[in-house]
């Protein structure tokens, strides 16, 4: 059989699945049928020039969701668009914006993107449309890279300004008088990739938007808001929480889809007793090779830069063995030069580039056209990201293939065994809490700097007076005799806010690798102990860095780039004290609660774990001070009956195992990163005097996750039970109840027993997540 033999993506898939060793990893195979387009006429009120532009692009009718978006905006509604990758989403905002500008050249629009690369890409798209319409349009990106010479021009004349939330917060809003032309005439705010605004970042962005809308009101403009989001469980609520408005949600795509075969591979454990599993890269590599040899355009996503480089060189090597053209397989990640990236993107569109191995840098909206196969080496962390990566393949006419190769982590396994989450209703919700008091106060300072507050004036959904009085005690603001609150400090509050962090005190991470050391980023003090302790491996933009020194007094971590095959995980010794219960409800075997807690924690040791298999390959000690954190937590307390009949060490193992499983499921439900939620299990809680499992939020003050876990407790418990009960390990593994400690107990059986008790009154075992056990 010839190695290089052109064939269709489907044929290549069949051949790959027939290869030895692949069949036993096959967990799921689904065919998503092709969908014909649903067209709708172009609204008759659309400007003739825009109509002409559409015609020149070969568009004679709109997709139904595009038409719906246009009409809703025409009726003055705010809209949230939730449609898949490559469904013509940008027309949903570019058309109405250009329409408004065609009617009134003074009209302005502000586009927000989470990354700089996206701004550039969307600017090109917008300019292209305007050029086709033969409309004069002044549109520009305003970010840290914008040359000083053209900034004034963008401020005064930019009809469409594309920027990011960080720039908006520090460079635009505090200087709003320089932007008065924009704010007086602002008609649209476009918030793209809104699902990325969750957690602490989302809580900040919601407050930046409060400041933005407050300034608009000052200048008398009432912009409509267009949010677009990947598919998540609560797009309308997300948009509403972010902006404080109500949205018309558009979630039925009218765009056509070709047939897509989705395959999930879940490699069995290497050793069922320890539960050690292989990493996803070998299978992902073999899958990619099958499609490349068949001449199909393929994208492979890896989670870390090392993984990307490994797969890339292996693929190039293999293709040369088969005398393939090596330069047709490229790598793509954020370290590459923009020109290099543009070349790869256009190479993919033209077909010159056959394969690309990428980090998640290609996940968000950059236009690379549609490919034949997408292969995900490991679960990308959220279902939304999974679909965005899978969406990179998908031809309109031919069949395309997407393969997810599950890694060894708990999340990977959970999603691999719960394909209904992927194919039916996504359980993921983006959570944020604009009322996080630390975040709120930081932005209230910035808002008071921007404009004085009238007595009784709202910031968000409630009056700001109490908060302002609090700031008055700090001396940042003062109330004058007209009862208005004025900024009264020589600080520049917006510069003190880092939108990615929860606490005001941060550790600076400095890369000493390049000749001139540069700041990579910041982490808050609390997280610094587990992320940048000495000898930690810190991951930034998919690049690994080794922490050489952590200067705790100076709040600096010195790091240098390395390529290693391990990562580090620090352990915190945590004591937890509930301060206030916000809500409590009785349930099977006890009660669920959520409220405010104080965490005292000390970082003890760190472990070195293999990237691929998460095997422990070493450890070290951490010497850093104990710290306190006020945050929110959700917890389950067992009642006496449920707590009886256990040996103490068994109950301990059961609580820890169940807690870890609950933590995994909670991460899925709330799109949380592994660092966002901590877990504490107590056999006899000093406060409740009974066994308790806590999940606490790592962001100071929390971002609303615990409250939501309280609402979704039943789902959480049955999901955890399902995860533990149906794991294919013997007595517990890192993917269910966590790694086996010293004890000889059967952690999996104990955790299952406990979770059954907790789940009993809700649903039969398996509950929401029932699937055939592997």
């Amino acid at each position: 059989m010839r190695l290089h033999q052109p064939m269709t993506a489907l044929e290549a898939l069949e051949r790959f699945l027939g290869e030895p060793g692949v069949a036993q990893a096959l967990a799921v195979r689904r065919v998503l049928p092709a969908q014909a387009p649903t067209f709708a006429a172009v609204p008759e009120w659309l400007d003739q020039r825009l109509l002409g532009a559409l015609t020149r692009r070969g568009i004679s009718a709109l997709y139904s969701h595009q038409r719906e978006a246009l009409e809703a905006l025409h009726d003055g509604l705010d809209i949230a668009i939730v449609t898949p990758t490559a469904s013509g989403k940008s027309l949903c905002y570019n058309l109405p914006v250009l329409q408004e500008i065609s009617l009134d050249p003074a009209a302005r629009a502000l586009y927000l993107f989470p990354t700089k690369a996206l701004s550039q890409d969307q600017l090109a798209e917008l300019r292209d449309l305007a050029a086709l319409a033969e409309m004069g349009l002044s549109a520009a990106v305003y970010d840290g890279d914008t040359p000083a010479a053209i900034r004034a021009n963008v401020r005064e004349a930019g009809q469409v300004v594309l920027t990011n939330p960080d720039m908006l917060s520090t460079a635009v809003l505090p200087h709003h008088t320089k932007w008065f032309q924009l704010f007086e005439q602002l008609r649209f705010i476009v918030i793209d990739e809104a699902h990325t605004y969750r957690g602490i970042f989302g809580s900040h962005v919601a407050n930046v938007l409060r400041r933005l809308l407050r300034i608009c009101a000052h200048y008398g403009s009432e912009p409509r808001i267009i949010c677009s989001s990947a598919t998540i469980g609560n797009p309308g609520e997300l948009a509403a929480t972010l902006t404080g408005r109500r949205f018309h949600v558009i979630d039925r795509s009218g765009a056509p889809r070709g047939e897509r075969h989705v395959v999930i591979l879940d490699p069995p454990p290497l050793d069922a007793r320890t539960g050690v599993r292989p990493g996803p890269h070998w299978l992902a590599y073999r899958a990619a090779l099958s499609f490349l040899r068949a001449g199909r355009q393929t994208i492979v996503f890896g989670r870390a830069r090392v993984a990307v480089e490994l797969m890339l060189s292996a693929l190039r090597e293999a293709m040369r063995e088969g005398r393939g053209p090596i330069e047709r397989i490229r790598g793509y990640r954020s370290g590459y030069l923009p020109s290099e990236r543009r070349a790869i993107e256009s190479g993919l569109r033209s077909g010159e580039v056959l394969g690309v191995v990428s980090t998640n840098a290609l996940e968000l909206g950059i236009d690379i056209g549609a490919l034949d196969a997408s292969i995900l080496a490991g679960y990308p962390g959220t279902i939304a990201a999974t679909w965005q990566q899978m969406g990179r393949s998908g031809r309109r006419q031919e069949t395309s293939v997407s393969i997810l190769v599950a890694g060894a982590g708990a999340l990977d396994r959970y999603v691999a065994t719960h394909p209904q989450y992927l194919f039916e209703a996504t359980p993921e919700e983006a959570r944020l809490d604009p009322e996080n008091v630390h975040v709120l106060l930081a932005h209230l300072r910035a808002a008071a700097f921007e404009l004085p507050f009238a007595p009784g004036e709202h910031f968000g959904a409630a009056p700001a007076d109490d908060l302002l009085a609090f700031l008055g005690e700090e001396g940042h603001v003062r109330q004058a005799d007209d009862r208005r609150w004025y900024w009264a400090s020589d600080n520049f509050p917006a510069s003190e806010i880092n939108l990615r962090l929860g606490a005001p005190e941060n550790v600076l991470i400095i890369d000493t690798g390049p000749e001139r050391p540069r700041v990579l980023g910041e982490v808050d003090l609390f997280a610094a102990r587990v992320l940048v302790h000495e000898k930690a491996i810190y991951l930034h933009d998919s690049q690994q860095y080794h922490v050489d020194t952590l200067d705790w007094e100076e709040r600096k971590a010195l790091v240098r780039p390395v390529d290693t095959d391990y990562y580090t995980q620090a352990e915190l010794a945590v004591t937890l004290k509930p301060l206030e219960v916000f809500a409590r409800a009785e349930r099977a075997a006890g009660s669920r609660q959520h409220g405010e807690v104080m965490i005292s924690s000390i970082a003890t040791i760190f472990k070195k774990l293999k990237l691929d298999t998460h095997e422990n390959v070493g450890w070290g000690q951490i010497h850093l001070p104990e710290m306190e954190l006020h945050t929110t937590a959700w917890w389950l307390a067992l009642d006496d009956q449920a707590a009886s009949g256990w040996r103490r060490d068994e109950l301990d193992a059961a609580l820890v195992g169940a807690g870890r499983a609950l933590q995994t499921v909670a991460s899925v439900l709330l799109m949380a990163d592994p660092h966002d939620l901590g877990m504490v299990a107590q056999v006899r809680s000093p406060h409740a005097e009974r066994p308790v499992i806590y999940l606490w939020e790592a962001a100071p003050g929390g971002v609303g996750m615990s409250a939501r876990l309280f609402d979704r407790t039943d789902e959480l418990v049955s999901g955890a039970l399902d995860l533990v009960a149906h794991c294919d390990c013997e007595v517990g593994c890192p993917a269910c109840v966590g790694p086996r400690g010293e004890s000889r107990l059967d952690g999996r059986a104990l955790a299952t027993r406990l979770l059954r008790l907790l789940d009993a009154a809700v649903a039969p075992a398996g509950g929401l997540g029932a699937v055939a056990a592997a």
């Binding site: 719906e68 505090p174 709003h176 008088t177 797009p235 309308g236 609520e237 509403a240 929480t241 404080g244 109500r246 949205f247 949600v249 558009i250 979630d251 809490d433 009322e435 008091v437 106060l441 008071a448 700097f449 921007e450 404009l451 004085p452 968000g460 959904a461 409630a462 109490d466 908060l467 609090f470 008055g472 005690e473 700090e474 001396g475 003062r478 109330q479 004058a480 005799d481 009862r483 208005r484 004025y486 900024w487 009264a488 400090s489 020589d490 600080n491 520049f492 301060l579 206030e580 916000f582 809500a583 405010e596 006020h630 003050g701 609303g704 615990s706 409250a707 939501r708 309280f710 609402d711």
Partner: protein, 430 residues
């Protein structure tokens, strides 16, 4: 189509019945408790000062008068001193201003150095001449809520045809005032032109001063001495303390500081008008003027492409320079002069000027020979003479190289010029 209405808009999940307001209050309460434990931080909330008589009390404390505005009263402090208004020379500045305009010298004191909307100019000093009496009027803001009337009063003191004079006012003071008017939804006051003294001071005097701050320039150039001056960095805290305490006396030193800034600008303006700007026109300067200042002024003219005036300044400077101690400065100015000659199209004079520099044998002699070669090659069309000059440049460049001081510009130029000249020479008959 689905319309998902946000149910949690006014309520946080899991907090049934609790409005955002309640949540905020309870969270704030816990934060406050935490802060009370760190008692050092707690300050008493400011109590708004009584409204009646506030301006009067402030005026009394700082020796000013209360001025009624369209809104609420503000405080004005006035100073008069004799400074002759002899500004005709300003018409010949590199960027000329019309001496017939009413001059408004302007300097602000603010609550911060940033330029955002939270930085408040609370004191604006305006200097102007009434015949030969120089009047400084300082508008002082009694309270943050009094700004609307304050802006009216300020606008009334800036005639639409005025020439504003400032020190770094183009990038700091004026944009900050524009911000205030925009913030109040008003147009900023119109004016005729704006003379910012900072770039001129930097060009002319910086070479003999530690920096170009107004304090350094007034001392070095006008001999002003300030006693007990308040450093500018302490100004914001003074005003914020006044706002919280109501003690107007705190602001006396700020007013004095601001007045001196305005007066110093008036003095600098006179130095410029009387001693410097006329040089460009007449080519004559009083013996007291430092030749380096003339060089700087010449370069300021050159940047505005006013090469005739630049030349006049360079000539005047060179006349004044002598002695080996000033050889470097002389060479520097001589080169600027030669460039000005080239720009004016006086090619022969330019060639002569470059040759003179070259024959002096200073640090840039090689460079000067190159210029000579350039003129001979292109203007004189004499490749033989050009080659001779280029050879001199080469010899000098080689010597510097032996001493480890390579001049890469010269070497790069020679690498192309020498072969080209040799080719031209070979092609020329005879």
């Amino acid at each position: 189509m689905t319309t998902e209405l946000a149910q949690h808009l006014l309520m946080l999940p899991g907090m049934d019945g609790l409005g955002v307001d309640t949540v905020r209050r309870s969270r704030l309460e816990r934060l406050r408790e935490a802060r009370v434990r760190d008692a050092a931080e707690v300050r008493r909330p400011a109590i708004p000062a009584p409204r009646v008589g506030r301006a009067a009390a402030l005026a009394a404390a700082v020796g000013g008068v209360v001025q009624q505005t369209s809104q609420r009263p503000i405080v004005v402090v006035e100073w008069r001193e004799r400074i002759e208004r002899d500004l005709a020379g300003l018409a010949w500045l590199p960027e000329p201003v019309d001496p017939a305009r009413p001059f408004v010298l302007i300097d602000t004191e603010t609550t911060g150095l940033g330029s955002g909307t939270g930085t408040l100019p609370f004191l604006v000093g305006l200097g102007s001449w009434e015949d030969d009496v120089f009047v400084t009027r300082q508008l002082l803001l009694p309270e943050q809520s009094d700004e609307a009337g304050y802006l009216d009063a300020l606008e009334a003191l800036i005639p639409a045809e005025a020439c504003l004079v400032s020190y770094n006012g183009r990038s700091f003071d004026w944009p900050l005032l524009v911000t205030r008017y925009r913030l109040h939804g008003r147009r900023p006051p119109a004016f005729g032109e704006h003379l910012d003294l900072l770039p001129l001071a930097r060009a002319i005097w910086r070479h003999r001063l530690p920096d170009a701050r107004l304090a350094s320039v007034e001392t070095g150039i006008c001999g002003v001495r300030r006693d007990h001056d308040l450093p500018g960095s302490l100004v914001p805290a003074r005003y914020l303390d006044y706002l919280r305490s109501g003690h107007g006396a705190l602001l006396r030193v700020v007013l004095e500081h601001n007045r001196q800034d305005v007066v110093s600008m008036a003095l600098l303006l006179r130095v410029l008008a009387q001693e410097l700007a006329p040089v460009g026109r007449t080519g004559w300067s009083s013996p007291g003027v430092h030749p380096g200042d003339l060089g700087g002024l010449g370069r300021a003219y050159a940047r505005k492409r006013r090469h005739q005036e630049a030349l006049a300044c360079f000539d005047a400077a060179m006349e004044r320079l002598s002695g080996p101690s000033e050889a470097q400065r002389y060479e520097h100015i001589a080169m600027d002069r030669a460039r000005a000659l080239t720009r004016l199209g006086l090619r022969q004079e330019a060639e002569g000027a470059w040759q003179a520099i070259a024959l002096e044998g200073g640090r840039r002699a090689a460079w000067a020979w190159l210029h000579v070669a350039k003129h001979r090659e292109h203007d004189g069309a004499d490749p033989r003479a050009a080659l001779q000059a280029a050879d001199r440049a080469r010899a000098l460049a080689e010597r510097s190289r032996l001493f480890g001081q390579r001049d890469r510009h010269v070497e790069r130029d020679l690498a192309r010029r020498l072969p080209r000249l040799r080719r031209k020479l070979a092609a020329t008959p005879g």
